[in-house]
Amino acid sequence: MSAPAEPLLRLDDYASGDLPDAEASSFEDELFAAAADREAAADVFARGGLAADAAFLDRLTRMTPDPARQGVFAGGATRAQVDALLGSPLPVHYVDLGAGGEHVFQPWKPGVKFVVARLAVDLRGWQDVDVEVTGSDGTSIKTFRDVRCAPEDGALYAVCHEPLARLAFARGRTISRIVATRAGARETVAVFDVRPPA
């Protein structure tokens, strides 16, 4: 197994134990020397170099348990998970956006921790489901890859932390296209034209 030249990948091999001990020892010398020379971490993700990559990998390792607990890695929540969230003491804002079309997102109260949107399309039987989000002018914003529908009703339940929802709606009106594959054909299943809360 050859050691990668890129610092981030060498760090990853080092921390995960994939870098052999003989190489790890000299790599540690490099790592700690770079740490000594490191600058402020305020914008560490925008920087390059071994120390910045080390800070990134360390933070990634420490942050990932949180989205893991929230089910972010699954690409969508089940109805049972949403019901559990709604039944918890956490303040949750829940909106049903129907099966597509135009909507104005209902505003939420201060203190809300999670925002949940139900997209009431039945995606059972569809594969490779993506949600492509653009601005009203067609500018691409992002694509949610390989999203998972709830097995109970086939709907998509988008669950996110409230600050992320706030950022999304600060962007203004968005168009979300659910694109998926069935019987070998790639199709647009539904389109949601959503305006931010007034």
């Binding site: 890129e6 981030l8 990948l9 091999d13 080092y14 921390a15 995960s16 134990g17 994939d18 010398d29 790592l31 700690f32 020397a33 770079a34 740490a35 000594a36 020379d37 600058e39 402020a40 971490a41 993700f45 925008a46 120390a51 990559d53 080390a54 800070a55 990998l57 360390d58 933070r59 990634l60 390792t61 420490r62 942050m63 990932t64 348990p65 949180d66 989205p67 893991a68 929230q70 972010v72 890695f73 690409g75 921790k113 500018t139 691409s140 914003i141 992002k142 694509t143 949610f144 890859r145 390989d146 998972r148 996110c160 932390h161 409230e162 600050p163 992320l164 950022l167 600060a170 962007r171």
Partner: protein, 199 residues
């Protein structure tokens, strides 16, 4: 999200200046030095220890000894502080049993200096930080297989062999998948959150 808020003035200083200031009792310089080494120490620990708690404890122990060394003037050559801290790590890794006994004494004497480290770790605070929602945004743009790899490798600290078992592939391929996912996240997180980027 950093656990130690280093003041800007300290971050712009050289290591030698920070060591000199720390030896003279400047707590901000001490904190800045701890912040510089925190990630390297944590990665050193992660290579050897399995649980997040053990990594936290090891990191605290190393930084406590660093603080002790700074305050007692035991850092002879500030230009080689990286090697000095690495030496602390290696000694601790070799002698964890004796260290457990010494830990209590060090905590009593220097623990207050590490109070910022005791704050909730990234992602655990009640108030969700920018980096956590940034990560959430980036994860949602990865394909499912990459998300699985990131969860297994970083949230659950699984080895390449274990990831391979979960994904039904070889350990070599699991490592390649892990590298690709990591690079994708690094690239994504070096930019702004997608909702902000197109304004």
């Amino acid at each position: 999200m950093s656990t130690i808020a280093a003041p800007v003035v300290a971050a712009e200083s050289t290591v030698a200046e920070l060591v000199a200031r720390a030896a003279a009792g400047d707590r901000e310089a001490e904190s800045a030095l701890c912040q510089r080494f925190e990630a390297a120490v944590r990665l050193f620990a992660r290579r050897r220890l399995r649980t997040a708690e053990a990594v936290d404890e090891f990191t605290q122990d190393v930084l406590l000894i660093l603080i002790e060394s700074l305050r007692t003037g035991a850092v002879d050559d500030p230009a080689r502080l990286g090697g000095f801290v690495l030496g602390i790590c290696r000694n601790l890794a070799l002698d964890r049993v004796r260290q457990k006994e010494r830990r209590a004494a060090l905590w009593e004497q220097y623990g207050a200096a590490l109070v910022p480290l005791q704050a909730a770790p990234a992602g655990d605070s009640d108030e969700v930080g920018y980096e956590v929602i940034h990560l959430e945004d980036c994860i949602s743009q990865l394909p499912q297989r990459s998300r699985d790899v990131v969860r297994l490798a970083y949230a659950e600290a699984r080895s390449a062999d274990e990831i391979a078992g979960h994904l039904g592939t070889s350990a070599v391929n699991a490592r390649v998948l892990r590298h690709r996912a990591l690079q994708a996240l690094r690239t994504c997180m070096s930019k702004r959150i997608s909702w902000e980027a197109v304004r």
